[in-house]
Symmetry: C2
């Protein structure tokens, strides 16, 4: 079903990231696209997260997360972490994870990772904007190309989330 | 001068946008990359803006802005609106602008535009995060490809803004 609003939002240029979280005890990871830089000094990244997602309480309790940049060859990783399942389920198994300075897991096979510490957090509609100061990070695959969110199609099943019409002003 | 932190942040996937603002009287436009979707219902876009920029008081007073998606062939437009000059200077001249529902100018030659109304606003380091509800918008050039921020090099002279080291945790 055609939705001009969906087509419009697909013109935003976004990457695809695996967000690693922990509350100090349990670890989890999930796929996200709404990541951007918001400040230089201090270095801050923002992330929009659905507070209904199972990972949100872990992020909120641990006050730390990693942003792992997926490369153009890692569509299957995006899919694996894009489906919600219980924290510490086996979706994190079978790949190598490092541990960030504050305990959040980062993906050794990612193109790059950012290690974040909660700076501030705000509600924004059906999501929350969490802003993290970047306390560490590294490019892990110098010559890889980042995965483009628009190329993942409807992998995240977001197409049904867009309204069919704009709300009246 | 090599800066690993700069190299790391260049791995974020971002677009290039011209933001059109007005206070109801004066119009201005500037180039930005830190735009992302943060909510589906309502439809919300976030933008990081430096409050020292001449456009910020216009956005803040008008409580409206447009996000104009530049295409891969519009690097020169990104450059034109990436240099700060007095509002209503002739950088807006010589091209066609439409008017959004709340009065902000949008670029007819853009790949697409989003018409935003201020929803909420938060401080975040040296920038402010402004969140707008999308009240209108349209794809204007169906087959064009969005401009990739990483391909604009150091056009925005941001490379000098990155610290050389991470701050201690």
């Amino acid at each position: 079903m055609d939705n001009p609003i969906l087509d419009l939002f697909r013109k935003l240029t976004l990457g695809v990231y695996v967000i690693g979280v922990t509350d100090g005890c349990t670890r989890d990871a999930f796929t996200a696209a709404s990541v951007t830089q918001v400040s230089y000094r201090p270095l801050l990244l923002s992330l929009a997260i659905n507070p209904q997602h199972a990972s949100y309480p872990l992020l909120s309790a641990g006050r730390t997360w990693t942003v792992n940049v997926l490369s153009s060859s890692q569509t299957e990783l995006a899919r694996r972490f894009g489906t919600e399942s219980p924290p510490d389920s086996n979706k994190m198994a079978g790949m190598s994870w490092g541990t960030g300075k504050l305990g959040a897991p980062f993906l050794i096979s990612a193109l790059a990772y950012f290690d974040c510490k909660l700076f501030c957090e705000f509600p924004a509609g059906d999501h929350r904007i969490v802003v993290g100061s970047v306390v560490n990070g590294k490019v892990l695959a110098t010559h890889a190309q980042p995965l483009d969110y628009a190329r993942t199609g409807n992998m995240d099943r977001s197409s049904g989330l867009y309204p069919a019409e704009f709300e009246p002003v």
